[in-house]
Amino acid sequence: MKFKRFKILIRDIKKYKALLLILSPPVIYLIINNYIPMLGVIIAFKEINYSDGILGSPWVGFKNFRFLFATSDAFVITRNTLGYNTAFIIMNIIVPVSIAIALNELRNKWLPRIYQAVMLFPYFISMVVTSYLVLALLSHNNGFFNSALMPFLGKDPVNWYDAPVYWPFFLVAINVWKTAGYTSIIYLASLAGIDPQLYEAIAIDGGGKWAQIRYISIPMLRPIIIVMTLLSIGKIFNSDFGLFFQVPLQSGTLFPVTNVIDTYVYRSLILTNDLGMAAAAGFYQAIVGLILVLTTNTIVKKINPANSLF
């Protein structure tokens, strides 16, 4: 029996060798770029010294993890990563869905297109450029906030880059500013596909605009909202490095509210050269991320199999 299956395998390989040949460059790429580094997670359980190399360095068990979780950093970076991503996920449902529904109601050919084009623009800007734009607003001496907005509100200027309390709001606002236009396009496209007769049916039954939105628009958007949210939950342990590293201009005073797992791993690896800590934090990020995707997907599958990712 086994031998027969083996023969079929050989026959298939021979028959489809051209397709396998086409697949081989990208597969080799994935092995080098993704799969071999996956095995590199063993670094987290070793005390690396460069004379012995990665494989030769001694195993130290969970020592790196004990060190990592003994610091207050572990709590801060976990809280920040999860907190910001939760806020981003919620805002990235509320704002783009509202934009899409409102644009869809305008029933005008060119105005929504102009709004859309303008709102999409920030999406194309790198985080380095974003850091310049934010600096133009927040610079202590001459920034727009301190030289125009705060006097207008009758308030004293604030040294924004030294004031951690404001940054959770700034970071969420910057994230929404950059991505809302992009995400709303996806929702708007689904709304455009809704049969207008559905709205008319509700209207004839005496349902106003809010009823139409509540009973038609939102339910029609639900599957795509779930997919987008699932994808974000899968990445809830990852952050946009540039947003947390460069937009606050690496200000040390702001670390309690800007340090996330990604910036911590980078700083440990490159700036403080603490390979063990960086690898432990990276492993923690990868494992918890994997567990989160599998769990959310299983839950969604239980509730509604059609909405799950895999």
């Binding site: 770029n33 590199g40 607003l137 610079s139 001496n141 727009f144």
Partner: protein, 298 residues
């Protein structure tokens, strides 16, 4: 007068919605206007009034100063263009090479290879093994390929491309090509590619943006001035200015190095975003169209 349909909203709510969108649109572009306006304002006016949306005295000296370093700017632009163009081309080739066999229903290993790439979305080794792989094993430090290689194959784009093939190219086309004796590579380049141009354009646009905007890979792997992309150049300029501002003594000691002023910073940003602003009206339409193709069907 045309009668309002049952489902249309009232005129006052239309005006309100438009007003909200005008404000939102302003929020989206005002920072850019501010940066441009600061870059052309006279330095002494800035010191007196702070950043304003409309400059009271126009002065282009910030750009004059920037252009004394024109060689590095041109060099950085060249690096960005080379990395973006070759990265996008290579990435499209690899994506198509992965998507095509997955699209073939008769290919017995498609399930295995679909999982093989999907798994990379679920789990990754993280920054440390990746960094060691690139610097110690592949020896790519200060090599432009270190900026190209990380973004060559994205599982998402493979899925989008495969879905596009499935929905737009009927199996019968492939079957008859095989009967005519065409090889797989020939089918991919002569039949699939021309039929799937829209999805290649869309993914190409996405990948272009990823390469153009990346600076993290430069931060990790690049230290030589000759390999600094425009994004990384902007990053370094910002860093130097921050250092000067935080360490006035060091700046004074450096003496001969002219401290880049407020206006020069913003002029640097304008030089950096310039091409995107100019190209934006042209590619924006295609992007919206492509995004909806990928999102709905993918």
């Amino acid at each position: 007068m045309k009668k309002r349909s049952l489902t249309e909203i009232t005129i006052p709510s239309k005006i309100l919605i438009n007003l909200i969108f005008i404000i939102v649109s302003l929020i989206c572009i005002v920072p850019f206007i501010l940066v441009i306006s600061v870059s052309i304002t006279d330095e002494s006016i800035i010191m007196r009034e702070g950043y304003r949306l409309i400059p009271s005295v126009v002065n282009l000296s910030a750009y004059e100063y920037l252009f004394t370093d024109i060689n590095q700017i041109v060099r950085s632009y060249m690096i960005s263009i080379i990395v973006t163009a070759s990265g996008t081309l290579l990435s499209l080739i690899l994506t198509a090479m992965y998507a095509y066999p997955l699209y073939r229903k008769d290919f017995p290993f498609r399930k295995f290879f679909a999982f093989f790439i999907f798994f990379t979305m679920l789990f990754n080794g993280g920054l440390v093994p990746f960094y060691i792989m690139y610097t110690q094993v592949l020896n790519l430090r200060n090599n432009l390929f270190a900026l190209i290689m990380p973004f060559l194959l994205n599982p998402f784009f493979v899925i989008i491309m495969r879905t596009y093939f499935t929905q737009n190219i009927p199996d019968s086309v492939i079957e008859s090509a095989i009967l005519d004796g065409a090889g797989e590579l020939r089918i991919l380049t002569k039949i699939i590619l021309p039929l799937a141009m829209p999805v290649f354009a869309t993914i190409g646009l996405f990948v272009t943006i990823i390469y153009w905007n990346d600076w993290f890979m430069s931060l990790l792997f690049i230290s030589k001035n000759e390999n600094i992309s425009i994004q990384y150049y902007m990053y370094k300029t910002m860093l130097n200015i921050q250092f000067m501002l935080n360490n006035p003594q060091a700046a004074a000691m450096a003496g001969s190095i002219k401290i880049p002023s407020e206006t020069i910073r913003m002029a640097m940003a304008v030089v950096g975003i310039g091409p995107i602003v100019i190209a934006y009206p042209f590619f924006q339409r295609y992007f919206v169209k492509g995004l909806t193709v990928g999102a709905i069907k993918g």
